[in-house]
C-alpha cells in the first residue's frame, strides 16, 4: 500500500495502473481493464508490481480498447502437433510469444502467475525475445493461463519454433575461442618480435604457436572454408575465398618453415588474429540483423483462429485449416471471415479494409459472397464455406506474394568483392612467378604477405559495421528492417507508391464536423455513448474518441440494425443514431428532418450520421477517414528529395481524390482491385526499377511483393507483416523519409570505408609485391586498417542526426 500512495503523489492525474493521463471525468483509472487489474493485484498481494515498475521505469500494457481473443486453439490437436514438444516422463514444452511484455515489472508479474499455476514445472521469461518457455505436465490449463495473461494485457501468440536463428550460438563460441588462442599465440610470438636468437627456445615457441593455431584453423575458421567452398563450387568469387586460401597457404608455409628451422617465416599468430577479427566483424553484423529478426518474429506471431462449425445440432470449434467446402460456420461479432464463402443469414455488415481497402463498412445480403479477411462488425452470422483455407483468395495472394518474393531475393554479393578477389589472387600469383627465378623464398614470402595484408578484413568489415550502426539507429526510432538488402535498396528508391486507407489515413473514420440542434449537448453525448457502448463499429469508435466523457446513463431496449444504426431509450427518450438512408428502418419518416438536414449544408465527400431524439433531429455528424498527422510532412519531405509519388487505392475514387488533394498529390487512382494493383505495380517496376510500395492490407500484397522494396506498419494485416521488407510503427509515416535518409547515409558510409580500404590495400599490396614489407608488417597493418574503417563507417552513419 505504501508504494501506491507514493505513486499517487507523483502524478495525481494519471491512471493508478498504467500511469497514462486521465481524461476529464475519469478518476483513478483510465479504463475498466486497469481498474480490474489493479483490484486483482491488490487482492493477491502483488502490488510489488508497481514498485518494480517504478524502479525500472517500465510501463504497463495499454488496456484500453482491446478486443477479446479466443484462445480455444490452445486446446486443439493442431496446437499440440505443431507447437508443443513432448519431453520424457510426461512433461511438455512450448514457447509462447507475449505481446505487451515490455519491462522488468512485467517479467516479475508473469513469473508470479506462472508460479501459482498448477502444472507448470519450469518457466523462463525472456525480455529481449518477448517469449516465455514453459515446461508443463498434463494438469496445465493452457487456455486459462492465456486468458489470465490476456486480462493483464499480455497477449499470448504463437510462431514457428525459433530454431533457425539459434545458429549464432556457435559463432559466439568460435569467436571466444579464437580470441583467447590468438591472444596467447601473440604472447608466445613475442620472442620473435624482439629478436630471440637462441635456436632451441625459438623452435619451442614456434611449436607452441603452431599448436595453438590448430583449433583456430580447424574449428573457429570452419565457416569461412565452408562458405568459400560452397560458393566456389557454384562459380562465385567471394571475399571468403582469398581468406580461405590465405589461411591454408599461410598455415602450410609456416609449418614447412618451422620444420626447416627458419623462424622468420612463421605467422601462426597473425593467422589466428585474422580469424578472430573476421569472426568479430561477422558477429557484430549478425547481432544487428538478429535483433531486427527477433522483433519481426514478435510482430508476426499470432493466435491461429478457431471457427465454430455446424456439427449435428450444435457448433464445434475447429481450426480454419480444417474447413471444407460445404461446411456451415458461424462468425461472431468482431470475428474474422476465415475462408471465402456465401452468406446464409439475412445480412451481414463487414469491414473490408484489409481485403479491398474500402474504408466504409459494407452491407452484404443472403447468398452474397464473403471474402476471407473481412471482419464482422455486426451481429453473429452463419455462412457456407466455398473453398478450403489454402484456396481462399487470402491464402492465394499470400502464396503468390511469397513466390514473387523468392524470385527477387537472389544472392546479391557485391561485384566489388569478386573484383577484389580476382585482383588479390592475380597479384599474389604474379609475385610468386616474378620472384621465383631469383629467390624462391622471397617469392613465397611476398605472395603470402599479399594474401595477408590484402586481407579483405577492412573491406569485409565496412558493410557490416555501417549496416549494424544503421540497424541500431533505425531500431531506436521503431523501424525494423528485415534484411540488409532492404536497407541497400532503400537508398536507391526513386518512386514511392502509397496505399491510402490505413497508410496515409488512420483507417478509422473520425468526426470532422458536429452540427448540434439541441442545447443539451452534454446529456446527449452521454446518451450517445451509452447506446454505442460495447459496439465494435467504426462509428462507435469515432464517438468514443471524440467525446471525452464516460457513459453514466443507462439505455434500455437497445436495438442494433447492422449497417443502418442503433436505437434505444435513455431516460424515457427514444434515441436513434443512424445514417440518413437508415432512418426509415427505425420507423422515422419525417420530411421535417430532411428539410432540417438540407439547411445544415453537409459536405458530400464525408459520411453522415444523424442523431434523432423523439422524432426530432438533435445532431448531425460528419465523419471522414482522416489523414495521419504526419502524412503532409512525409509527402512534402519525399517530394523535396525528388521522389515520384503516387497513390493507388481500393477505396472509392471520390474518397481517394478528396483525401489526396489535401496533400497536393496528383497521380492518384481509386477503386483499384488487387489484381489491377499488381499489374500497375509491375508496370511501374518495369519503368523504373526502384519502386517502394507502402501498404498494409491483403489487397496490397501482390503489389508489395512486386515492388523492389515493401514497407508496412505495425498495425497491418499479419500477412503483410510476414513478408514486408521494412516495418515502421503504426501512425509514424514520417519514418519512411527517415529510413531513406538513413539508407543513403549508410550507403555513403559504405563507400567512404570502401575508399579508405581500397587505398590501403593498393598501397600495401604494391609494397608487399616488391618485397618491401614482410608478413610481420602485414599482420600489424591489417588490424589497424580494420579499426580505421570501423571508425569511418560509424562517423558517417551517425551523420547529422
Amino acid at each position: 500500500m505504501q508504494q501506491i500512495e507514493h505513486k499517487e503523489t507523483v502524478r495525481a492525474s494519471a491512471c493508478r495502473h498504467c500511469e497514462r493521463e486521465l481524461l476529464p471525468g475519469q478518476s483513478e483509472f483510465c479504463c475498466a481493464g486497469c481498474a480490474t487489474v489493479f483490484r486483482i493485484l491488490k487482492d493477491r498481494d502483488l502490488t510489488d508490481f508497481y514498485r518494480i515498475q517504478q524502479m525500472t521505469q517500465g510501463s504497463a500494457p495499454d488496456l484500453r480498447d482491446r478486443n477479446t481473443t479466443d484462445f480455444s486453439f490452445l486446446a486443439s490437436n493442431t496446437y499440440h502437433e505443431q507447437y508443443v514438444s513432448e519431453l520424457a516422463n510426461g512433461l511438455f514444452k512450448v514457447t509462447w510469444y507475449l505481446r505487451g511484455l515490455s519491462c522488468a515489472a512485467c517479467i516479475w508479474l508473469i513469473e508470479r502467475f506462472l508460479d501459482q499455476r498448477a502444472g507448470v514445472r519450469d518457466h523462463r521469461v525472456s525480455l529481449s525475445a518477448a517469449t516465455v518457455e514453459l515446461t508443463f505436465d498434463a494438469r496445465f490449463d493452457a487456455i486459462g493461463m492465456a486468458e489470465e495473461l490476456d486480462q493483464f494485457g499480455y497477449r499470448v501468440s504463437l510462431n514457428e519454433r525459433p530454431e533457425e536463428i539459434d545458429d549464432d550460438s556457435d559463432d559466439l563460441l568460435r569467436l571466444g575461442i579464437s580470441g583467447a588462442l590468438a591472444g596467447n599465440s601473440m604472447l608466445m610470438s613475442l620472442p620473435f618480435y624482439v629478436g630471440l636468437e637462441t635456436p632451441g627456445y625459438g623452435a619451442l615457441f614456434g611449436w607452441i604457436t603452431a599448436l595453438l593455431s590448430l583449433p583456430v584453423l580447424f574449428y573457429a575458421a570452419r565457416p569461412f572454408f565452408r562458405r568459400a567452398w560452397l560458393l566456389f563450387s557454384h562459380r562465385l568469387l567471394t571475399l571468403d575465398l582469398p581468406i580461405a586460401v590465405g589461411l591454408i597457404s599461410g598455415e602450410i608455409l609456416s609449418l614447412s618453415q618451422l620444420m626447416r628451422g627458419n623462424l622468420n617465416g612463421i605467422y601462426f599468430d597473425s593467422l589466428s588474429m585474422l580469424v578472430f577479427f573476421l569472426l568479430l566483424g561477422r558477429y557484430i553484423q549478425q547481432q544487428g540483423v538478429q535483433k531486427s529478426l527477433l522483433h519481426t518474429r514478435q510482430l508476426v506471431a499470432a493466435m491461429p483462429q478457431m471457427v465454430k462449425r455446424a456439427d449435428g445440432d450444435g457448433w464445434k470449434a475447429v481450426t480454419a485449416q480444417e474447413l471444407k467446402p460445404g461446411d456451415r460456420i458461424r462468425i461472431v461479432g468482431g470475428g474474422l471471415v476465415p475462408v471465402d464463402g456465401r452468406l446464409e443469414s439475412r445480412e451481414a455488415i463487414l469491414n473490408l479494409h484489409v481485403v479491398s481497402g474500402e474504408s466504409v463498412p459494407v452491407l452484404r445480403q443472403t447468398e452474397e459472397l464473403l471474402p476471407a479477411g473481412a471482419i464482422n462488425l455486426g451481429a453473429a452470422f452463419v455462412m457456407k464455406v466455398n473453398t478450403t483455407f489454402c484456396d481462399s483468395d487470402q491464402e492465394r495472394l499470400r502464396g503468390l506474394a511469397q513466390t514473387l518474393k523468392n524470385r527477387v531475393c537472389q544472392e546479391n554479393e557485391s561485384p566489388m568483392a569478386a573484383r577484389f578477389t580476382a585482383v588479390v589472387t592475380i597479384a599474389a600469383l604474379s609475385a610468386l612467378v616474378f620472384h621465383w627465378r631469383s629467390n624462391p623464398e622471397l617469392a613465397w614470402q611476398s605472395a603470402l604477405t599479399i594474401l595477408i595484408v590484402a586481407c579483405p578484413c577492412a573491406l569485409a568489415l565496412t558493410r557490416p559495421t555501417a549496416m549494424s550502426f544503421a540497424l541500431a539507429q533505425a531500431a531506436r526510432s521503431g523501424i525494423w528492417i528485415r534484411s540488409l538488402d532492404a536497407l541497400d535498396e532503400a537508398a536507391r528508391i526513386r518512386s514511392v507508391i502509397f496505399d491510402k486507407t490505413g497508410v496515409l489515413t488512420s483507417g478509422c473514420p473520425k468526426i470532422v464536423r458536429e452540427h448540434w440542434q439541441t442545447p443539451h449537448q452534454h446529456w446527449l453525448k452521454g446518451a450517445i455513448l451509452c447506446l454505442e457502448d460495447g459496439l465494435n463499429h467504426p462509428v462507435a469508435h469515432a464517438f468514443r474518441e471524440s467525446f471525452h466523457t464516460t457513459p453514466a446513463l443507462t439505455a434500455t431496449e437497445v436495438r442494433v440494425q447492422p449497417g443502418y444504426g442503433v436505437s434505444g431509450i435513455v431516460e424515457g427518450r427514444r434515441i436513434v443514431i443512424a445514417a440518413p438512408q437508415g432512418l426509415p428502418r427505425f420507423g422515422i419518416h419525417s420530411d421535417h428532418i430532411n428539410a432540417q438536414l438540407k439547411r445544415q449544408n453537409l459536405s458530400s465527400d464525408s459520411t453522415h450520421v444523424l442523431v434523432v431524439v423523439d422524432e426530432r433531429l438533435a445532431a448531425a455528424f460528419e465523419l471522414r477517414d482522416r489523414l495521419l498527422d504526419d502524412a503532409a510532412a512525409t509527402i512534402s519531405k519525399l517530394r523535396a528529395d525528388g521522389h515520384a509519388l503516387r497513390v493507388i487505392s481500393g477505396d472509392r475514387p471520390a474518397h481517394v481524390v478528396a483525401t489526396c488533394s489535401a496533400l497536393k498529390l496528383n497521380d492518384v487512382q481509386g477503386g483499384v482491385i488487387p489484381t489491377e494493383k499488381l499489374r500497375l505495380m509491375i508496370e511501374a517496376v518495369a519503368e523504373d526499377r526502384h519502386v517502394m510500395m507502402v501498404g498494409d492490407g491483403l489487397n496490397d500484397m501482390g503489389a508489395m511483393a512486386c515492388a523492389s522494396l515493401s514497407v508496412t506498419h505495425t498495425g497491418a494485416t499479419e500477412a503483410a507483416l510476414q513478408f514486408a521488407d521494412i516495418v515502421i510503427p503504426q501512425g509514424g509515416l514520417l519514418n519512411v523519409a527517415t529510413l531513406m535518409d538513413l539508407a543513403k547515409r549508410t550507403k555513403r558510409a559504405g563507400r567512404n570505408g570502401m575508399l579508405a580500404s581500397v587505398t590501403y590495400n593498393l598501397a600495401a599490396i604494391s609494397l608487399a609485391w616488391f618485397g618491401l614489407i614482410g608478413p610481420l608488417w602485414a599482420a600489424l597493418l591489417m588490424p589497424l586498417s580494420s579499426l580505421s574503417v570501423i571508425a569511418i563507417a560509424a562517423a558517417t552513419v551517425k551523420g547529422s542526426t
Binding site: I52, S126, N184, Y201
Partner: protein
C-alpha cells in the same frame, strides 16, 4: 632460461582453464539472455526481505 620449461606449461594450462570455463559457460546458456537476468536480481532481494519480515 630453463625456468621456461616450468612457466610455459603453467601458462598453457591457465589459458586452457580459461577457455574451458568459457566453453562451460556457453554450454550452460549463460550468454543466451543477457538482459532479463539483470532485472531478476531486483526481485530476489524483495522476496528475501519478505521472508525476513515473516520470520
Amino acid at each position: 632460461m630453463g625456468i621456461l620449461f616450468v612457466l610455459l606449461p603453467i601458462t598453457l594450462i591457465l589459458a586452457g582453464i580459461a577457455v574451458g570455463a568459457y566453453i562451460w559457460a556457453h554450454r550452460n546458456h549463460q550468454f543466451d539472455d543477457l538482459e532479463t537476468p539483470a532485472f531478476r536480481v531486483l526481485f530476489d532481494e524483495k522476496q528475501e526481505r519478505k521472508e525476513e519480515n515473516e520470520s
